[in-house]
């Protein structure tokens, strides 16, 4: 992967000036490359990575396994596209194995998520079954540990 993308994955807020120095190039070049990646749809957005367990919200997250009937034309894509449009669905993946789609869903309460599954997902044409698992605690997300290891306990000066 391009080192620029690597750096942005680690810290999307890095300034163009710093990125340019790290990569041994100019700020204009950095801006042009980021713009090109956005244009091509490689970069889909920049978001903060939150530990929501530390926020004062009662939001509930669930992982939902969906079995669906593929369509003659288009396979799973059309059903997936319909499901993906619901704002409650945060992430969705096509899987191999015992089920087809894996959804990460967010709601304001357990009841809300349960309603979403029974009233919106399950009745959809082509959905064969659902299995809902509520998430209890986040340990790691997007490669980032929610509790950092104590880090810089090195001697302040050493050979």
């Amino acid at each position: 992967m391009d080192a620029l993308l690597d750096l942005l994955k680690k810290n999307a807020r890095e300034s163009d000036a710093t990125l340019a120095k790290l990569l041994g190039t100019t700020e204009q070049e950095v801006r042009a490359r980021i713009a090109a990646y956005e244009q091509e749809g490689v970069i889909r957005g920049f978001q903060a990575l939150l530990n929501t367990d530390r926020l004062d919200t009662n939001d509930v997250r669930a992982v939902i396994e969906l079995r669906i009937r593929p369509e003659r034309e288009g396979g799973f894509d059309r059903v997936a596209a319909r499901i993906g449009k619901f704002p409650q669905v945060e992430s969705m993946y096509l899987m191999s194995g015992a089920y087809d789609l894996l959804l990460f869903v967010k709601g304001a309460s357990l009841q809300e998520v349960a309603n979403f599954v029974s009233a919106r997902l399950a009745p959809l044409d082509g959905v064969l079954s659902t299995a809902t698992h509520f998430m209890l605690k986040t340990y790691k997300d997007q490669g980032v540990l929610m509790e950092s290891e104590p880090h810089d306990d090195r001697l302040q000066v050493c050979p």
Binding site: D6, L22, L23, H151, R154, Q156
Partner: protein
């Protein structure tokens, strides 16, 4: 009662009493205990030891692999190191007789000096350099002979300078590239010329290549890759830097059997063996650590670019080092000595760098900045230095 009753200081041997303390130690004492210091004075990686390596160490303890190993080191580790040497440098070392596992490269270097030096033997070493070499040569009753390296040569060691210092008493040549504190590396022509010099003067070569894996450009040119040097080379390497395993204290030496055997004699009486737990971790590192090394190397590489660009931009001349994780900018344009610069930077801006003079007289006028620290503190440190340099100019 006798009149020459001794007190504690009198029991310290004269050659130890006269040994100067490390210049880094001086600076450490000044920095120690201060809060909110951003330190670019740390000669160790900022990465945690890769988890798979730590996990293997835990597992070693769980299954009770906590006994003495062979004096030379665990056979599996020595076999893996032989394979590593072959793969990295196309050099063949017999794991049974030519590889010795030690407590860090420091012990290996100490063993090498004690194994080969007779009182009064001279050892050529290049400055600026790691602070332990000259004292360890002296502790082995040798005579350390510094050879200067220069900014104009990108701090590479030249045969011309060596020729000025070699005498009939010269016994050995010590090399450390990639270099701490300058980040200098050698290219192929350099290693060949140094090998010829050593052969011409019948010298032993001790090459500490602990930063070898952290080479960013120009390729890794090891003394171990030169076949005609093999009979007169002690190659030293360790796990601290590239694998980020400083606290494991694990290093090794590769050398012809008679030299390995001589070093092993001292090691077996003085140390017995390196920590068995560390050796298990080291085996994991050398077998499965390539991906982790590559990731860390890439990160240092980018940070090096950032620091060199920042220093030059603020008007501190800094050459682009190709290895290790240090840059060695000149602060001569400011009119301050290295020590003044470093002290004022610390006192007024809370940034710690090590004055170049701590690494030998010819390091005066320079500063060692280690960039093995996180990007946020690194950026802040560069901003503060820039403010300081700008203030000095007015």
């Amino acid at each position: 009662m006798t009149t020459d009753s001794k007190s504690a200081p009198d029991f310290v041997a004269p050659h130890v009493r006269s040994l100067p303390k490390s210049g880094i130690r001086d600076f450490f004492d000044i920095v120690a205990g201060r809060k909110d210091v951003i330190s670019l004075g740390i000669g160790e990686p900022d990465f945690q030891t890769p988890w798979h390596i730590r996990e293997r160490a835990i597992e070693a303890i769980e299954r009770g692999a906590t006994r003495y190993t062979s004096n030379l080191g665990a056979p599996e580790l020595r076999q893996a190191l032989a394979a590593y040497m072959r793969q990295s440098f196309q050099s063949d070392y017999d794991w049974q007789h030519e590889i010795l596992v030690t407590v860090g490269v420091s012990e290996a270097f100490d063993l090498a000096m004690r194994a080969v030096l007779s009182p009064g033997d001279e050892v050529l070493y290049h400055e600026p350099c790691f602070v332990a070499y000259a004292p360890l040569i002296r502790m082995a009753h040798g005579v350390p002979v510094p050879v200067e390296t220069f900014r104009k040569d990108d701090f590479r060691l030249t045969v011309a300078e060596l020729e000025k210092k070699v005498t009939p008493r010269t016994r050995a040549l010590l090399l450390n590239f990639p270099n701490n504190p300058t980040g200098a590396t050698l290219d192929r022509a350099d290693t060949e010329a140094l090998a010829d010099f050593a052969i011409r003067h019948n010298l032993l070569v001790i090459s500490d290549e602990v930063y070898s894996e952290l080479t960013y450009e120009g390729g890794r040119h090891s003394m171990a890759a030169i076949p005609r040097l093999r009979d007169r080379l002690i190659f030293l390497n360790g796990f601290s830097k590239a694998w980020s395993m400083t606290g494991f204290r694990l290093g090794y030496a590769c050398a012809p059997a008679p030299l390995t055997d001589a070093m092993m004699k001292i090691h077996q009486f003085g140390m017995m063996c390196a920590s068995s737990i560390s050796q298990t971790a080291g085996l994991e590192a050398v077998r499965h650590g390539d991906a982790a090394i590559a990731e860390m190397r890439d990160s240092y590489h980018l940070r090096r670019n950032f620091v060199v660009a920042s220093l030059n931009e603020m008007g501190l001349d800094c050459f682009m080092p190709r290895g290790a994780f240090y840059v060695f900018p000149s602060i001569q344009s400011t009119g301050l000595s290295s020590k003044e610069f470093a002290l004022r930077l610390l006192n007024e801006y809370n940034v710690a760098c090590v004055p170049g003079g701590a690494f030998g007289a010819c390091g005066e006028g320079f500063l060692r900045c280690a960039y093995a620290t996180g990007m946020e503190p690194l950026k802040e440190a560069m901003d503060r230095m820039k403010t300081f340099v700008r203030a000095l100019a007015h």
